[in-house]
């Protein structure tokens, strides 16, 4: 069987599995729909959280980004894992004790204010939509390259599947499909990584192979060879950074804090039965995530070495098949500037002009082909990429639908709505969100890649300080929290819009505030949020006694409800 046949088989099998799981776990109450009735085992929840969290960006894009950035790519590795420590130690157990369903609900109840709740809903919707658009691009790439169905049909198929199990199953259906999706995606990530590690270094564990000697008998360490190759071709050496230290620090912090503030991640900790399980569930989630995240830098180093070895200074007429296949998608481009028919692939410091443009998004998908692995491995990777994109999209759709049906309708505008009507509203909202997300996938706004930084920056600058202060200070009041959130969002949003959308030509270190890039500005926004909130709270009335009691109450585990008072 060829690559395409294998891809069809792998994708069809994995989709059938998700649908079967969804049918067996459909939601019957709003509790089921929003938080799976808070009955999910912590290890299962950890696995679902890992799938929810690891998106098309983690699976498809991250190793490619690291392959081209080298040391600078570490910001993603540390940034997207370190946030779980913050979650487990500072947020998850208290939010589980609070119970209920959503992040805006916590903000609204803790700050006894509809304004605070609505501000939080707007942030949650913005962050989630931004993110969904990115997932759909991932789905589109996989379909167009491997299944020859065209990006539009690919996105429609993907949306159909997500619609089915998110709308039918709610959180309950999503949780169990995400477990299946985690298994598919981690297997699909590890198999080629292990194969390539054995091929290149003779070590079966990629995390170790990455620091081992090459198997070609040269006795050279892989990373030394890579440093040599990159320096020789005029790139910065692989293990050295080219970003400024302060910027690296701020980007890492923005990603960590942003991770801890993302509503679709936080809400997962409402689904376990006990407070102590919210803590351990974060640990399991990070363990499952770490399996992929410690493999990714190894895959990156293997891929970059392989790429430089296979295409640099080779005649264009003799390129391997994978090169030609990806050229057809426009994600690899070769322009023979000097007309010698040979591929000069060089960095900014080299004399020869670079003739090759490679989209970093293709590295993980092309890697098995570059390393000449069997066709079934290539098909498996395609299925894994789809699993990653679909699981994240489903989690986000749930946040969007819950924000509308629960936070806006039930808690703010139509408090008399019945449970049945609320469930219908949630399903309609999920349906509308699926269609909107599909629209973004088929007609991606030109700035999808840029706005992902936005999602993290906004989450870091809005939710994280508001929730943290709500738990760790009793004196924080509505005025402080709302003015802090608004300042954080306005500053971070303004900075990103200015450099990314309005004046992209000024987007260089010389024009940035203290040399901090838009990716890292969320950290400054977060600090501003803290500063403004604490200052305003000092000069405005303290929160009422029952709110202070509420804070006392969420700080101890005993007495956490078994899920929810609401029943069908």
């Amino acid at each position: 069987m060829n690559v395409q046949a294998w891809t069809f088989v792998m994708v069809a099998l994995s989709f059938a599995l998700y649908l079967a799981v969804a049918v067996f776990s459909r939601a019957r109450s709003t509790g089921d729909f929003y938080v799976a009735a808070a009955r999910v085992h912590p290890v299962v929840n950890g696995m679902a959280t890992a799938a929810d969290w690891m998106s098309a960006a983690s699976f498809i894009s991250m190793a490619g980004l690291i392959a081209f950035l080298g040391y600078d790519g570490s910001v993603y590795l540390m940034g997207w894992t370190g946030g779980y420590v913050l979650l487990a130690l500072l947020l998850a157990p208290y939010l589980r004790k609070f119970g209920k369903y959503t992040v805006p609900e916590f903000v609204g109840d803790r700050y006894y204010s509809h304004t605070a709740r609505v501000v939080a809903v707007v942030c949650a919707l913005f962050v989630s939509f931004t993110y969904v658009a990115g997932q759909m691009r991932g789905v589109g790439i996989v379909f167009s390259r491997f299944l020859n169905v065209g990006i539009n049909e690919g996105v429609l198929i993907g949306m159909g599947i997500v619609f089915f199990y998110a709308v039918l199953g709610g959180m309950k259906g999503i949780t169990y499909t995400q477990v299946a999706q985690y298994c598919v995606l981690i297997f699909a990530y590890l198999v080629p990584a292990i194969f390539i590690s054995i091929l290149m270094t003779g070590v079966a564990i990629p995390q170790l192979g990455f620091g081992a000697e090459l198997a070609d008998g040269s006795g050279q360490f892989l990373l030394d060879r890579l440093d040599g190759l990159t320096a020789e071709l005029g790139f910065s050496a692989y293990t050295d950074g080219s970003k400024r230290t302060l910027d690296v620090l701020f980007i890492t912090a923005a990603l960590m804090v942003g991770t801890a503030g993302l509503p679709h991640v936080i809400v997962r900790f409402y689904t376990v039965p006990k407070v102590r399980q919210a803590r351990s569930s974060a640990g399991w989630a990070l363990l499952f995530i770490a399996i992929l995240y410690t493999t990714a830098p190894a895959v990156a180093a293997f891929a970059r070495t392989n790429l430089l070895d296979t295409v640099s200074e080779r005649p264009y007429a003799e390129v391997p098949a994978w090169f030609t296949n990806w050229e057809a998608t426009g994600l690899i481009r070769f322009e023979d500037h000097n007309g010698d028919g040979i591929i000069q692939y060089t960095g900014p410091a080299a004399e020869a002009r670079n003739e090759l443009t490679i989209d970093s998004d293709i590295m993980v998908l092309a890697n098995p082909e570059i390393a000449r692995l069997p066709a079934w491995v290539v098909g498996l990777v395609a299925a894994g990429g789809l699993a990653a994109a679909l699981s994240t999209a489903a989690g986000l759709l749930l946040v969007i639908s819950t924000s509308v049906s629960h936070d806006l309708l039930k808690r703010t505008f139509v408090p008399k709505i019945t449970e049945r009507q609320e469930l219908i509203a949630a399903r309609i909202a999920a349906g509308v969100a699926v269609i909107l997300a599909g629209h973004f996938g088929i007609h991606p706004p030109g700035f999808v890649a840029q706005v992902v930084a936005f999602a993290f920056g906004l989450a870091a600058a809005s939710f994280f300080p508001a929730i943290l202060l709500g738990i760790f200070t009793k004196g924080m009041n509505t005025w402080g929290a709302v003015s802090g959130m608004v300042t954080g969002i306005a500053f971070t949003g303004g900075y990103i819009v200015w450099f990314k959308l309005l004046h992209p030509e000024l987007n260089t270190a010389d024009h940035w505030l203290w040399g901090i890039s838009p990716e890292g500005i969320g950290t400054v926004g977060m600090l501003l949020n803290f500063g403004v909130a604490l200052t305003v709270a000092r000069f405005t009335p303290a929160p009422p006694a029952d709110v202070q009691q509420f804070v006392e109450d969420i700080r101890v585990p005993r007495g956490a409800g078994p899920g929810h008072e609401v029943s069908a």
């Binding site: 540390m78 420590v85 130690l89 990455f210 102590r276 351990s280 640990g283 990070l286 410690t294 700080r555």
Partner: protein, 91 residues
């Protein structure tokens, strides 16, 4: 329910644990992986330069450990102050 001074002690202990664990969290990532990466890169373990290893591998392993250590510490603390969840509270 707990006496208020017991509550305060419980909360203080919790904050101490969090502070110590977050100090380690900061040291391995921002410290070893970013601020001290160059001096640490002079130390080599196999093919890895140590600073680079912390940035791309070591910090992540430590993060996982930190969470599980916190889980254990808090379980003990919850029991000691009798604020742990009783089984009949869940269904």
């Amino acid at each position: 329910m707990l006496e208020s001074h017991a509550r305060r002690d419980y909360w203080k202990k919790n904050l101490t644990y969090v502070a110590i664990l977050l100090a380690i969290w900061f040291t391995v990532s921002y410290g070893f992986g970013i601020l001290l990466v160059e001096p640490l890169n002079r130390i080599r373990i196999g093919g890895f330069q140590l600073g680079f290893w912390f940035a791309q591998q070591g910090s992540i392993y430590v993060f996982v450990l930190l969470i599980f250590v916190y889980v254990r510490l808090m379980r003990r603390l919850d029991r000691q102050f009798e604020v742990d969840e009783r089984d009949e509270e869940t269904t």
